[in-house]
Amino acid sequence: MRIPNITALFQKQIKDVLKNMPVLVLFIVYPIIAAVMTNAMSDQPEVGTMFLSIFATMHCAFTPIVATSSIIAEEKEKNTLRVLIMSNVTLREYLFSIGGFVLIATLITGSTFLLIQTQSLVKSLLFLASMGIGGLISIALGMCIGLLSKNAAAANGLAVPFGMVFAFLPMLANFNKGIEAVSRFTYGQQVSYLFAGKPFTVFGVVILCINFIALITVSTLLYKRSIAED
């Protein structure tokens, strides 16, 4: 992988997303809602913490899935991805730069959750690490959807239901033990536990690893298929 190609694509992505309102909104919507809701419940700190955990999970699960898939699918639809490939950019370099951009954007916008509720440095770092883990797995899923879809509309059609499963199921699990019994097998639920301040468990680490390995395997297979098609 060539660093100049990756940085050029990364810089392009920053300029592009700043003018791409639907994707830009995705990155800021959950921190804003969390701030409003936590503020509204300022007299009940434990409810505020729950809101923080819910919206942080949505931010690191839903946003990267939809943003990554939408960016990749749009490039396929508008043929800019083919132009990049024909300009000696490898698909690996492209995916690395898009994934890197979405991860950094998720972490930067996600760090605003830390401003909502004051936490110690260690807890803040753990919070960001959890967001990074959740974001990384979501990016892998977003890449699968983006590589699979022919255009941005098709990608959104797939990404939103997947995003809802991984981002909204943990929220519902707060109120329904039956749902939690199912959702604890998803990375979204495990990340949600971490945001809520629960400690790492062996089961949680295994679930995160399985989710990550499964999605990386699928995205690698789709990547190889895309290479073969090109």
């Binding site: 100049p4 190609n5 940085t7 050029a8 694509l9 810089q11 392009k12 300029k15 592009d16 003018k19 791409n20 490039e75 508008k78 043929n79 800019t80 991805l81 083919r82 132009v83 990049l84 024909m86 300009s87 000696n88 950019v89 490898t90 090109d230």
Partner: protein
């Protein structure tokens, strides 16, 4: 030296054979035109030559087999395809800067290319450009890294005559600088004006190949000369030795307003060979 060499190249999609036994050699530094109606297989042939599609037969570009192209070949070729995408939310300049960074080109060279293709307002978003301006931007991007071979798929399709003429002038300049240009078009005037050699492609088969003027003379079945005299009368002579004295007489009497020979244009040649028109 040949930039492109194809020997009996064929391509099928499923049971449909879209290219049949295409053989061509294109010397370096010339403009080659592939003429044919929509669906004749022109874009498919470009995709084969640029390593985007598999094929049967032998195809080479700059001495390298097209089925085993190294990625480094993309530093030597530029492409303007009808579906070449632009980043519509980025300015013209930012669109080019991205590719300049990828190719390791300086900002000064980007400014030179922009000037060369006639793009003045570089801050405007690519999505707000007219079709002609978009085409100039795509051409600028293809020229950014000074490619040795330029593939142009219908580069002036849908453009106004003034913009098309400016692009023609630029292509002639590039040819004079030694760039090999492979051009597909169904505009026979464009092909006649620009190309050193052309091939006429119909339903995946090359039906004729040669120098545009020679092809027109080859298919000059009427072989007549028509004189328009000063009184507005037209007189047509068979083009043989017997007509020479009579034509000379018109000139001697200063009675020639205009004189025309009867060579067909490339479109007429194509119709006579295939029974169909180029622009369908």
């Amino acid at each position: 030296m040949n930039s492109i060499s194809l020997q009996q190249v064929s391509k099928s999609f499923g049971t449909k054979e879209v290219l049949k036994d295409i053989s061509l050699t294109i010397p370096s530094g010339e403009i080659f035109g592939l003429l044919g109606p929509s669906g004749a297989g022109k874009t498919t042939l470009i995709k084969i030559m640029t390593g985007q599609l598999s094929y049967t037969g032998a195809a080479e570009i700059m001495g390298k087999s097209c089925d085993r192209l190294d990625r480094s070949i993309y530093s030597d070729i530029g492409m303007v395809m009808d579906n070449s995408g632009l980043y519509e939310r980025l300015s013209c300049y930012d669109n080019l800067i991205l590719f300049a960074k990828i190719h390791g080109i300086s900002k000064e060279d980007v400014a030179k290319i922009l000037q060369r293709v006639g793009l003045k307002d570089v801050k405007v978003l690519a999505g707000k450009l007219s079709k002609g301006m978009k085409q100039r931007l795509i051409l600028a991007r293809a020229l950014l890294h000074h490619p040795k071979i330029l593939f142009l798929d219908e580069p002036t399709s849908g453009l106004d005559p003034a913009t098309a003429n400016e692009i023609h002038s630029l292509l002639t300049e590039l040819k004079n600088e030694g760039t090999t240009i492979f051009l597909t078009t169904h505009n026979m005037e464009e092909a006649h004006k620009l190309c050193d050699h052309i091939a006429l492609l119909n339903e995946g088969v090359i039906v004729e190949f040669g120098i545009p003027d020679e092809l027109c003379r080859k298919y000059n079945k009427e072989n007549t000369i028509t004189i328009l005299d000063r009184n507005g009368n037209t007189v047509t002579f068979l083009n043989n030795s017997g007509a020479a004295d009579r034509i000379a007489e018109y000139f001697a009497n200063d009675n020639v307003e205009a004189i025309h020979s009867s060579e067909p244009n490339l479109e007429t040649v194509f119709i006579s060979l295939t029974g169909r028109e180029l622009d369908i």
